[in-house]
């Protein structure tokens, strides 16, 4: 696989050099390559529902000239002559369009050359062998989920002479094991190297939890409860907050759900420290316009708002430095607290252990009030012991309470969450999050 990645890199370098070589004076060309070589195997009832392989490669072109910019992308066939012809034809269309456009006051691209190359080692197991093991270990269980694994590559080149490459081989095995109805244990195993013992241990844990899910479910009345949010549950909430919460454009146009922090001085709990930790993430360190991302961006410090994420257009519009490729965090990090993971049930004492949240959305964006559902193995805990599963409940609560005045503790340990999304392409977003103990969490239905 490493050899293939090098071959693809050489192919992109060759293609980009040929495209840039024929550029008329005064034009700048930005080129982005994206490639994926992934297996996807879908399971239901611990059997194969759909199994397949996807190989896709695209080239994105940004043509800049006379203060104007236009863009296009095309699929690649990996046959140089063929791809050159189609890319040149597309470039011709862009060149015809450019003079018809008005000048772009927010045009921004990297002018300094910073080359880089990162090749992740391929330490992946054969996907069929990993899945044989999963199916064997989970024999007798109603397991449903998906294996997504393989190589993903990103490349950047421009006519100023910059070249960047980033490739990684990863897997993301995401599954649920059902007992009956909607009572299930949700698990995930993702990373770069496969450890059979890790999988065996996870399935054994699931079998134990399934016994608990067989007890008569507790039906909660709407009201306020003490809860523990696992890192997975917190990730669902943070994905909502990240929807405009940290972007410079959304701040300057008053659309951030953290508007209260910007306009009214509202704060979160003093122990909340949130950053976009670029160097700890899985995404390339270069942006699609050739900027190099900083090590990290401090978004919230000691509960107060600090800095925004500024992409290339926002940075030009609002006169600041580019510090991200996307104004939605891709490598979110929340600092941990003092609560030890082993003490979570004891610290919760009596309340709801929320393993997963689902389908969140804003009920009042101005106040960062979020609604959503509990899902999977959410457990009722009494005097530090989980005693019963809980039927799904709808919550409606503000982040200013959850991570603010009602936050009791954060776990010391983090979970490294690799995003399972695969719309169009496999996501390379990730997050490192602690769990959170919260008082008076509001359920409505």
């Amino acid at each position: 696989m490493v050899k293939r990645s090098c071959n693809v890199q050489a192919y992109f370098k060759d293609l980009s050099e040929k495209l840039c070589a024929g550029l008329p004076q005064g034009e700048v060309l930005l080129l982005n390559y994206q490639g994926e070589d992934s297996d996807f195997v879908r399971l239901n009832s611990n059997k194969v529902r759909q199994a397949g392989h996807v190989r896709q490669q695209t080239l994105h072109l940004d043509l800049i000239g006379n203060g104007r910019e236009t863009s296009a992308s095309l699929p690649l066939s990996a046959q140089l002559d063929n791809d050159m012809v189609r890319a040149q034809r597309l470039l011709g269309r862009l060149r015809e369009q450019l003079p018809l456009l008005p000048e772009d006051p927010h045009l921004n691209f990297a002018g300094e050359v910073h080359n880089s190359s990162h090749h992740g080692d391929n330490r992946l197991p054969a996907a069929n062998e990993a899945l044989e093991q999963l199916i064997s270990v989970a024999r007798g269980l109603d397991l449903v989920g998906v294996w997504a694994g393989g190589e993903m590559s990103h490349g950047f080149a421009n006519s100023l002479g910059q070249f960047n490459w980033h490739s990684a081989c990863s897997f993301n095995l995401d599954w649920s094991i059902y007992r009956e109805g909607d009572k299930a244990v949700k698990q995930n195993y993702a990373g770069f190297t496969w450890d059979s013992d890790n999988l065996v241990q996870k399935i054994a844990q699931a079998r134990n939890t399934l016994k608990l899910l067989g007890r008569k479910p507790r039906i909660l009345e709407p009201g306020q409860y003490r809860v523990f949010l696992t890192p997975s549950a917190l990730y669902e909430l943070m994905q909502m907050v990240s929807w405009g919460g940290f972007g410079l454009k959304s701040h300057r146009t008053a659309q951030t759900p953290l508007l209260g922090m910007v306009r009214e001085g509202a704060t979160l709990h003093k122990d909340i420290n949130i950053s976009e930790h670029h160097s700890d993430g899985l995404t390339p360190r270069f942006t699609r316009a050739g900027f190099i991302k900083p090590h990290s961006v401090e978004l919230i410090k000691n509960g107060a708002y600090r800095e925004c994420l500024a992409n290339r257009r926002s940075a030009r519009e609002f006169d600041t430095a580019v510090n991200c490729g996307s104004e939605q965090p891709q490598s979110l990090h929340i600092a941990g607290g003092d609560l030890q993971q082993n003490d979570v049930y004891t610290a919760l004492d009596t309340g709801l252990y929320i393993s997963n949240l689902w389908y969140c959305n804003f009920s009042d964006r101005n106040h960062c009030r979020i609604t959503g559902m509990t899902r999977f193995a959410c457990l009722w805990v009494e005097q530090g012991e989980p005693v019963a599963p809980v039927n799904v409940m709808r919550f409606d609560e503000s982040i200013y309470h959850i991570l603010g005045d009602q936050l009791d503790a954060l776990t010391r340990e983090h979970e490294h969450i690799l995003d399972t999304a695969s719309y169009g392409w496999r996501s390379d977003a990730s997050a490192r999050l602690p769990g959170a103990l919260v008082n008076d969490f509001t359920f409505t239905l």
């Binding site: 996807f40 190989r55 069929n128 998906v146 997504a148 009214e264 899902r375």
Partner: protein, 480 residues
């Protein structure tokens, strides 16, 4: 047959291994987007996609491979990958692949386009978007304005080892604009002109979205919403306009009726369903006023087509008639697994994804009341327009939805605007409180290009047409 497809098919036939059944789905797609924000043109984009999806069935196994390398070598490599997974799936098959029905009909489909995208020059299109930006700029409190016009052209060809050949050509238009108003810590957004939706067809579809005529009203309403009182908290009647009915139908009828959800395929991601197989034919889903159809034949609706991506001819079918549940949304593979009737709705988002059960066009049939009569029938309630927030449990039962705009109704008359209108309920009981259905006068064609589902994930366009509808005794509330 579309240009140069035949040579790709010939190359594929030259390398395809001997299997019981194969299909080759070729997809070529081009999307052009123009977007003006705060009077500034964003870099126009032209996105091309092109690839092949290969499916094999052989001796009880079933597998696929997809590739953007459409030359003989690329297709050969894809066939090898599919063969690898074919062997694996045979050992662990969930489905008796050999007994799955196969496509038996050839045919074609093309979106009716009256005013093609190219009929307006680039300068003309940009000029209109700039005009809309100016129209939205009515006050300093308008802090963000945007207008967009996008066109997608998609060509899909399906050929099989049984000599079936299906060609379909789709044209979609994605127009819209939005204004954001802010005072202090209160921000409200209002959209119009088709924002967030789309239609099949050409530029003639703009009229149906009141594009650009509603631009000023959009800005005025954004401003008014900032100053409006919060939606009251109460149990009251709601009048849902078609731009919200779309979402209500989508989440609490469409998804729970998807047969693959009922069969458990989606339990790890999109979820399951409160509907079970034994309910079809007897379950009262809603009041007698509720009639819901799968209708692939409304030309401008987003998911109109002649064949689904498994090659099944698409036909109009009732799913719910007079409130009673009749049939699910399931393609032939799901129908065969479940032993029940369904519809032609197995669809893939692109060449790189396999077909699964999707919603397509799911419509609520018109009733007999004019919009004025619906309003007059409410003693106290809220009209809600244009979805902006959606959340529902994984069984598609407990929901909470929010809209951009609310308007009080008192004693049968429309009163002032209210902001942050939300409502919540339970699907299994909500539809039984459907007490009035608008006539053809309020019937509108909507839909969304952003329906997400499946592992690996797939985003597809779905159509929802509906009149305005009245529901009794709904829990409503506002913000803060």
């Amino acid at each position: 047959m579309f240009a140069d497809w035949q040579s790709i098919i010939d190359d594929f036939k030259a390398v395809v291994p001997r299997v019981d059944f194969w299909s080759l789905r070729l997809v070529q797609d081009e999307t052009e987007t123009l977007h003006v924000r705060d009077d500034v043109l964003q870099p126009p984009s032209l996105v091309q996609s092109r690839g092949a999806h290969i499916s094999f069935i052989d001796r009880g196994g079933m597998a696929y491979a997809a590739t953007s390398a459409l030359n003989r070598e690329g297709l050969r490599t894809a066939c090898e990958r599919a063969l690898d997974w074919l062997a694996f799936s045979r050992r662990h098959a969930l489905i008796a692949a050999d007994s799955m029905p196969r496509p038996g009909y050839s045919g074609s489909y093309a979106t009716a386009v009256h005013i093609p995208w190219e009929a307006w020059s680039l300068e003309d299109k940009l000029g209109r978007l700039q005009d809309i930006n100016r129209e939205l700029n009515i006050d300093k409190a308008i802090v963000d304005r945007q207008a967009q016009l996008s066109r997608r052209r998609s060509q899909v060809t399906l050929v099989t080892s049984d000599a079936v050949s299906i060609d379909q050509q789709f044209h979609y238009l994605f127009p819209g604009y939005a204004a954001v108003a802010n005072r202090g810590a209160q921000t409200q957004m209002r959209s119009g002109g088709g924002w967030g939706s789309a239609r099949q067809g050409g530029l003639e579809q703009l009229d149906g979205f009141a594009f650009p005529d509603s631009a000023r009203q959009v800005a005025e309403q954004a401003l008014a919403l900032v100053e409006a009182p919060e939606c009251p908290s109460a149990t009251a009647d709601v009048l849902l306009m078609p731009s919200q009915m779309m979402l209500q139908i989508h989440e609490s009828i469409g998804h729970p009726l998807e047969l693959d959800r009922i069969l458990g395929d989606e339990r790890n991601y999109a979820g399951t369903s409160f509907v079970s197989l034994d309910m079809f034919g007897s379950y009262r889903y809603g009041s007698e006023l509720l009639n819901v159809t799968f209708d692939p034949g409304i030309t401008q609706e987003m998911a109109s087509y002649a064949f689904d991506d498994e090659g099944t001819p698409a036909e109009h079918r009732y799913l719910i008639r007079d409130g009673l549940l009749e049939r699910p949304l399931g393609g032939v593979v799901s129908q065969s697994r479940a032993g029940t009737a369904g519809v032609a709705n197995a669809r893939a988002s692109d060449w790189n994804r396999p077909a699964i059960d999707r919603m397509a066009n799911l419509n609520l049939e018109p009733g007999t009341n004019s919009l004025d009569e619906l309003i007059a029938s409410l003693e106290y309630g809220v009209l809600m327009d244009t979805n902006r927030s959606w959340s529902i449990d994984d069984s598609r039962n407990k929901f909470q939805f929010g809209c951009e705009l609310g308007q009080l109704i008192e004693n049968g008359e429309l009163k002032g605007l209210v902001r942050n209108p939300n409502y919540r309920g339970i699907s299994a009981t909500f539809w039984r409180n459907l007490t009035a259905v608008g006539d053809a006068g309020s019937f509108e064609v909507w839909g969304t290009p952003y329906c997400g589902k499946g592992e690996p994930n797939q985003m597809v366009q779905v159509g929802h047409a509906s009149p305005a509808c009245v529901f009794r005794d709904v829990e409503i509330f506002g913000g803060v």
